[in-house]
């Protein structure tokens, strides 16, 4: 059944307009990636913390408050390590600088490099956990059988919302390429 000429032209025209919606939706999908990162880092959603050093110089210590910081660790598939915190939690005053130790052991017979990725729960606490020094700032490399003590120096800022009394800092070690 052949359609009328002008009908065919009108149909093509509308179809092309709809193709633009599709192109727009596809671009939108990829635009969501940077958008998502911006939203997460601005709001601290998803427990994303800054992975760079901060200074404790201006921190005020609030002796009236106590916060429990718990530590969790995991190793992702592909990295033959044991990795765990030496203490499962510490109680700190906001502003008080604390050092805790983690330990990693390469249980394979090849040298392996890994990168630790932090995450903090609840999400609204993530912006207030400030790291001064951390093994997660750089990739770590372990020789076969090597055991390494991994320090973390941090403080909890005094601006931490009143209702947060407990937070959990989780580290996952991911395989990284050797350098």
């Amino acid at each position: 059944m052949a359609l009328k000429q002008d009908q065919v032209a009108a149909n093509k025209k509308l179809a092309l307009k709809l193709v633009w919606i599709i192109v727009g939706a596809l671009l939108f999908a990829f635009a969501l990636v940077p958008l998502y990162d911006v939203i997460c880092s601005v709001t601290g959603l998803n427990g994303k913390t800054k992975n760079s050093a901060e200074s404790a110089a201006k921190a005020v210590v609030d002796l009236k408050r106590e916060v429990t910081v718990q530590f969790v660790s995991s190793v992702m598939p592909g990295l033959g390590w044991n990795f765990y915190p030496k203490q499962s939690s510490v109680v700190v005053h906001p502003g008080q600088v604390t050092t805790v130790m983690f330990e990693a052991k390469n249980i394979t017979n090849v040298e392996l490099a890994g990168q630790a990725i932090p995450s903090v729960t609840p999400g609204k606490a993530s912006a207030h956990l400030k790291k001064i020094e951390c093994f997660c700032f750089v990739r770590q490399s372990l020789k076969p059988g090597e055991v390494k003590a991994l320090p973390l120096r941090f403080f909890v800022s005094a601006e931490l919302p009143e209702d947060v009394q407990e937070m959990t800092l989780s580290y996952s070690f991911f395989p990284a390429s050797q350098q």
Partner: protein, 530 residues
Amino acid sequence: MSTTTVAHHDEHHDHPTGIMRWLTTTNHKDIGTMYLTFSLIMFLVGGSMILGIRAELFKPGLQLMNPEFFNQLIGVHALIMIFAALMPAATGFANWMLPLQIGAPDMALPRLNNWGFWILPPSAILLTLPFTLALFGVGDGALATGWTFYPPLSVQGGIGVDFAIFAVHLLGISSVLGSINIIVTIYNMRAPGMTLMKMPMFAWGWLITAFLLIATIPVLAGAVTMLLTDRHFGTHFFDAAGGGDPIMFQHLFWFFGHPEVYILLLPVWGFIPQILQTFSRKPMYGYKAQVYSLWAIGALAVVVWAHHFFTAGMPVPALLYFMYSTMAISLPLAVLFYCWIRTMWKGSMSFETPMLFTVGWIILFGVGGLTGLVLADVAADAQYHNSYFVVAHFHYTLFAGGIMGIMAGVYYWLPKMTGHMYNEKLGKLHFWLTAISFNVTFIPQFFVGLAGMPRRIPDYALQFAEFNMISSIGAFVLGLSQLLFVYIIISCVKGGQKATDKVWEGAEGLEWTLPSPPPYHSFTEQPVVK
């Protein structure tokens, strides 16, 4: 366009016969038939897969398969049912009935229409091929992530994931092409005098579906493409080690995934009121209210996606927003339910098979919607998420609300499409078998879900044994009953009592003014609607 008589054009000598007819056809009825046939075949394929699952779950412990294969069956079952059974069935009806209902000679873009269909079989093969390849020692089978493709599992998985990604690309292209065609047909090809607000409800349902499809399928395509590049080209979209985030995949997936559930149902909400008015012998109640409700649901559908991962960790304001916006969808949905019931109210009703399916549909789909409200409650969902309660919920919406709705449509239009009446006795038997065994299958799943049985796990605690056994028995009866459906359709195509033009006493609409079956080229002269 020829303005000669319509009737004698039935025989055309210029189009090929045999297999070439089907490969090259641009006729909306041929393409509609192909879509519907494909859908029926894939419905049986996806159904057999899940019977494998129910056989494994018949007893606690691992009997028949290893957990890997169990997960592969579940994932491919869902992808097939959604993309290869339900969606093509709705598209098949669109092809067959939209031009007839709006008085158009054909779909607006016939060649695109042909491509849209012929992309489907290769993608179905892509989805299932890894099973066969694994038999010959190539790869380790189909994707084992469930239909949701969540990373990191989908990044670590074998070639089955790649096959599924390409299949989704193709299926996506097919439904986007189909949607363009449907929108253009509805906007440009209506009979003179048929304003938008005089359109049949089916056209409204499909128009909104098509817009949802072209807005969200590209997002799914983008998300699985990112998965593909994460897997093979060293990107880190979803890899936390490289600065990516696996939760972002859930946002992208469900930005498509939630609208998708309405994509599956809006076409059904279109023709259900038409069936209701036919067998209640009075005009549908609240046409305008229904149209506005369909739009409201279409709009809300794209802003509620995160209710699928409340437990992934979200700040409280976001939880509240997604909870209330999700619950808000039930308001327009309640308007629709009201209109459907009011259409039957004081009607002079009769209960032929399409009407039986429709009334059963209203009740069972209602259960699906109400249990959805329970899940939308953030506090409750923490317990129900990833449990069999969710499985039961979405089968009340997708099997009852989707498949049983489609079955109502099949019985309603089959006499029009084939020119023969189907066997009414067998049709009714098929309804009762389906409705009863469906409930036997899924009611127990609500209870084991509430009691804590997780989904997508091949083994379970002993206290769930009885309910699972009942559910498996129901599932096998449900599956076997569908062979009756196939038999009824085939014998109706082959012959049977001659159908009249109008078929049903109370039928209204342009498709019923044509002979049954309609001539190969219909409405070459567009009717005028007053």
